[in-house]
């Protein structure tokens, strides 16, 4: 599948098909008016109007607002308006130490929080130039793949509900609860775990974790087949999702889109296979691609990515090495609690790490992972102190949202819900 990556001249040819994303003026699919101008905008044609969708609406994708310029039922131009969840996390990131950093970034992509923590931790470890133990790496892989399963199940639930299959919400959450229960056993929390920290992970896997994970993995395939029975072959599902929201590869690459959206166009780019991080080159899995770049392909890709993740987790279960779950460098990771009673040095190190934080040598680094939404990257600039000088997260949903106006052009309003739902934005990482 790596041969499918396109050569540059092929891309230039296909750019002709991508020319609609380059348009700037009124012929663009994007309604480029500021919010106050949109209020006052009256189109010349009587049949056209600008409708506002959101930010509070039942399609459960968070606080996304869309301005849709419509003629009858079809959407002509549109504009996603974001910022309703802007939390100033990058500014807060400059006030928190590197050990507290994961608590901050984990709340950005709240559906797959472990990936944000992983990107931050990888960037910090690259700056520190330390190498973490093997077991910590494999534990991180295990948790991330489980998180990918829970995030894609959330997608199935919300996508189904948006399409009208309200029962899919219950089915998706039923499975997700099992994975969240597993997270609670391992990390202590159902969501926003703060488990993957610079230096390793926060705690070792508890006794009996293999049985717990196997129990979840064994129950999942039958339940995924239920999704297939209920949704995949259904004619109404096909009518609603096939041929809707079509995008092609050149447009995706020009817009910087990654993740299942890019793979649905037939382009097999997955960071786990192409630029492997952690130990992904030691497990076998397939990268799934679609054919038409429509909503149905994205739904099917995410459903089958759950199956691939199950496959990866089974291999991790076999290959999990023994060892430390965090690096033994006293300057970076806190000592075990029992040692604090015995050794003054351990107490001092514990105190320094939790109050002041460990100092990271100056420099700047970018680290990226493949989250369920696409390429999630973390750019940290350090000035030698205990807190990042600048911490920036490249959220995949922020870039992926730019595809919405191009997908929505000439779609019906009912398709707008389908399109937004299959783009699967998480507004926490869009707005940060």
């Amino acid at each position: 599948m790596t041969d499918q990556v396109m050569a540059n001249d092929e891309i230039d040819e296909k750019n002709n098909s991508a020319e609609r994303v380059f348009r700037r003026g009124d012929d663009s699919a994007i309604l480029r008016l500021s919010e106050s101008e949109v209020q006052a905008y009256t189109p010349d044609d009587d049949r056209r109007m600008v409708i506002n969708m959101g930010p509070q609406h039942p399609s459960t994708h968070g606080v996304l607002r869309l301005s849709l310029e419509m003629e009858g039922e079809s959407v002509l131009r549109s504009k996603p308006i974001i910022g309703y969840l802007h939390t100033g996390m990058e500014k807060t990131g400059e006030q928190l130490s590197y050990l507290q950093g994961p608590t901050n970034v984990t709340r950005m992509d709240y559906s797959s929080p472990l990936f944000s923590e992983l990107a931050f931790s990888l960037a910090t470890e690259t700056l520190l130039e330390i190498e973490i133990p093997q077991r910590a790496t494999w534990i991180r892989m295990l948790m991330c793949e489980l998180n990918r399963i829970s995030s894609h199940l959330l997608f199935q639930a919300t996508n189904g509900m948006d399409m009208g299959a309200v029962g899919a919400m219950i089915y998706g959450w039923r499975e997700r609860e099992e994975v969240l229960r597993l997270f609670e056993i391992i990390t202590g929390l159902r969501m926003n775990h703060n488990y993957i920290r610079p230096g390793g992970v926060a705690a070792d896997l508890p006794d009996g974790w293999r049985d717990d994970v196997l129990r979840v993995l064994d129950s999942l395939p039958d339940r995924l087949d239920e999704f297939d029975t209920l949704l995949t072959g259904q004619p109404i599902w096909h009518e609603r999702l096939q041929g809707v929201g079509v995008i092609n590869t050149a447009e995706c690459l020009a817009l910087g889109i990654t993740g299942p959206l890019l793979r649905s166009t037939g382009y097999a780019w997955d960071l786990r296979k192409d630029i492997p991080y952690l130990e992904y080159d030691q497990v076998e899995f397939d990268v799934l691609v679609g054919t038409y770049g429509d909503c149905f392909d994205r739904f099917a890709i995410r459903l089958n990515e759950i199956r691939e993740s199950i496959r990866i987790v089974r291999q991790i279960l076999e290959k999990m090495p023994q060892g430390d779950y965090k690096i033994q460098d006293k300057k970076v990771t806190p000592p075990p609690r029992a040692r604090i009673d015995e050794s003054m040095e351990a107490l001092i190190h514990h105190f320094k790490i939790f109050t002041e934080g460990f100092k990271v040598p100056a420099g700047e680094v970018y680290a990226s992972v493949e989250s369920p939404r696409g390429e999630l990257g973390c750019y940290i600039v350090s000035d030698g102190g205990p807190k990042p000088y600048r911490m920036h997260i490249r959220g995949p949903s922020f870039t992926n949202l730019q595809v919405l106006p191009h997908m929505l052009q000439n779609c019906l309003v009912a398709d707008a819900v389908a399109v937004i739902s299959t783009v699967d934005p998480i507004m926490g990482e869009v707005d940060r």
Binding site: F22, R24, I30, G256, D274, D383, R394, F398
Partner: protein
Amino acid sequence: MSDETVNEEIDQSDDTNVYETSSRGQKVLHTGRNNLISAIQGLRSEGFNVCIDVTAVDYLENPERDLPEEISPERFELVVNLLSHQKRERVRLRIQVPENQPNVPTLFDIFPGTEALEREVHDLFGINFDGHPDMTRILMPENWQGHPLRKDYDVGKIPVQFKEAPGSS
């Protein structure tokens, strides 16, 4: 190399050379502001076909940083992150942007995906992108004053008041 005659200094923005440094094993390139477009186009023809990220850093409090000797530091730095699918490589461009004239040419015509990224940089840092189709605020409310991620913009912490819960005895 930049020419320096006795009475004149060439503005660093017009520097057309691209200098390469390395940061923790990652390739970093530096060039002048006005050379940004041609540098990006050059990289694109070398195979860097995706623009992953456009962001900025405000170096108000930390002027010492790792730069090649031909580049003198300015207050802002624009960081453009590119990825080559063919070569499986990443490269970063760091452009110095002065405080008194925070203008940079837009990358929209090469990578339309930078539209929202550049709006975010404008919103949070105040750097203007010449030629951008819609240079408005994207994350903060439209009538917000100030650029939050600048170092001289306060975090806005309020002192935490521990008060009696309303109605508790």
